[in-house]
């Protein structure tokens, strides 16, 4: 009782120990914790923060890959940005990118990934392992190999798909370039969504689904009333990541090189073409800045949804 009624007497001891044992979880104190984090922060600064800032700066100059402007770039202010928004190729690229994101990310990867996860949720055994194995294989193979496989699959003369469909001479990559890269990217990236939803569905309490079944809810009603509300956070996080990844994805270039005639020139490909093929680094950096802004808008949109009251 005496100890309990006299806390002030024990205070000085606690304070005396405070410098040695800091109140943070690891007990390091700010200086030492900072020292541990510094190498990582330095790497991030050098390889992520600096290039991003450098792109912002380049976008304001007439910097080129070759010529006088390469040696002595001039500050041109917002000229590059104004050029971009008045350039019809930029707008067609933006529109193609929107199609690419909606088609291959939102509908393709998220839809297909969820569908596979939902259909396999109660399954055990070889079927589940084979399906998951194939989907994940498409995800982990290097891009170079995967694009070669797809070029071989879609080739006009000796392509596997034409042989299977009995359509010799059908030029998929020339006649349907957007469809080709959308299907390709769906195939390529579904694994991430499938695994994310597989884990999320495991968190839906079985009794909630059973409760809905006993009330007579159909499959769709069970999804609407039980599953989606439970995995809402997973869906939004997944959409955010997949949208941003797909928006900035460069691998369509490996299949179509943006062609034919710019019909599959999504923004990432557009930047590559103007900056490195045409050498207009300043203009390319300005378009990159716009891409960055669009990414920010998309991210803020999803994060707001995520934070809003359910």
């Amino acid at each position: 009782m005496a100890q309990a009624t006299s806390p002030p007497e024990t205070r000085p001891e606690d304070e005396a120990q405070a410098p040695r044992y800091s109140s943070d979880a690891a007990g390091l104190g700010k200086a030492r914790a900072g020292a541990f984090a510094a190498p990582a922060l330095l790497l991030i600064a050098v390889f992520l923060v600096f290039p991003a800032l450098w792109v912002l700066y380049l976008g304001l100059t007439n910097y080129r890959l070759t010529g006088t402007a390469a040696a002595e770039p001039q500050f041109v202010g917002l000229d590059n940005l104004l050029d971009a928004v008045s350039n019809p190729t930029f707008w067609s690229s933006t529109w193609l990118t929107v199609q690419f994101v909606l088609g291959s990310a939102v509908i393709g990867q998220v839809g297909l990934g969820f569908a596979i996860a939902w259909l396999l949720r109660d399954r055990r055994g070889p079927l589940k392992r084979v399906v998951e194995g194939l989907v994940i294989l498409a995800w982990i193979l290097p891009s170079a190999i995967v694009s070669f496989l797809w070029v071989a699959l879609l080739d006009r003369d000796g392509g596997t798909l034409n042989a299977l469909l009995g359509l010799p001479g059908f030029a998929w990559l020339l006649d349907h370039p957007m469809l080709s890269i959308i299907v390709f990217n769906t195939w390529r990236g579904t694994a991430f969504s499938m695994m994310l939803y597989g884990a999320a569905l495991g968190n839906v309490p079985p009794s909630h689904l059973e409760s809905a079944r006993l009330a007579g809810a159909s499959g769709w009603q069970q999804l609407r009333d039980v599953v989606f509300p439970h995995i809402r956070g997973h869906i939004l996080t997944n959409l955010l990541l997949i949208s941003l990844w797909t928006f900035n994805d460069f691998s369509p270039f490996l299949l179509t090189a943006g062609g034919p005639d710019g019909k599959s020139e999504v923004l990432a490909v557009h930047v590559y073409k103007v900056a490195l093929q045409s050498g207009e680094l300043g203009y390319g950096a300005a378009v990159s800045t716009i891409i960055l802004l669009i990414n920010l808008v998309v991210a803020v949109f999803y994060l707001r949804l995520l934070r809003s009251k359910k």
């Binding site: 409760s211 079944r213 006993l214 039980v226 509300p229």
Partner: protein, 354 residues
Amino acid sequence: MAAIELRGLTKVYPGGVRALDALDLVIPDGEFFALLGPSGCGKTTLLRTIAGLETATGGAVVIGDRDVTGVQPGARDVAMVFQDYALFPHMDVTDNIAYPLRIKKVSKNDRRDKAAEVGARLGLEHLMDRRPGQLSGGQQQRVALARVMATQAQAFLFDEPLSNLDARLRLEARTFLKKLQRELGVTTVFVTHDQAEALAMADRMAVMESGHIRQIGTPAEVFQRPANTFVAGFIGSTPMNLLDGVVRGDTLEVAGCKVAVPAAAEGRLSDGGKIVYGVRPEYMTYSAEPADGALGGKVSIVENLGASHLVTLDVNDVNVQAVVPEGSEPAVGDDGYALPRRDRALVYLDGELV
């Protein structure tokens, strides 16, 4: 409202586990029926098979006049309260209660009226706009009950309805559930592993063990005359004394003592036969003085049960327990004599009641 009938109901899980083995059971209309047993005995599987959440491997489930064995859960006209209540966290109390009605396409106003009516009956009227996360365990349970009541189903199924409540609330909820069931008069089957809960609430009960029903009866029948040594050992908050013995003419030799043959077994035992003699500690009269037909020994343990004490006697190396009223409990080491009540003692031959 309807009776439930099970005919030869069998459930074998993939892998060969026989969870239900050809069960026959009739639960009359309006009865409050308990399925009791240790974990893994098949009681929850039985409840889920009645609900349709598990498909029967063989046999039939009949609710009312309808064979529902192959019918989807939603079309069986039964409602269930789950152990975790299964309230939808993103819906308020009103929407949770009205959910089954929404699936049945009842108009929005009718649903709200019904939810308000049922909610008021269970004392939820001031909570109707809250989410389940803002409710206490007891309140969540009442919401789950309200959802079941709003469906006006033929039968209610409760899976361990009290196990998620804390001990004090559990006793209140027990009384409340029993009263509610009586008022509604809906056939109700509930699963529990707690024998006290089953005894307290049920009109009738089935005691299950590894896929079989070992006894069906009223709580009084099951408590006073367990049909076999399994039920005898499972029922009762203090376990029944089950003592090996031998028939010696007109008496039984149990733990080295001579006791009288119980009234119900008189004339039905053969001399020299091995039996198990069963008597509940509550049905023993304890005394410090020797008595004819009593089991005598040294007091080895005295446990306080509140208003009484559980005394363990060491009778020739066999433990015999007796309940002693407060005030007259012996001290450890005393000599004591426990006289079984002849009308309550039981004899088991090969595990079955004689």
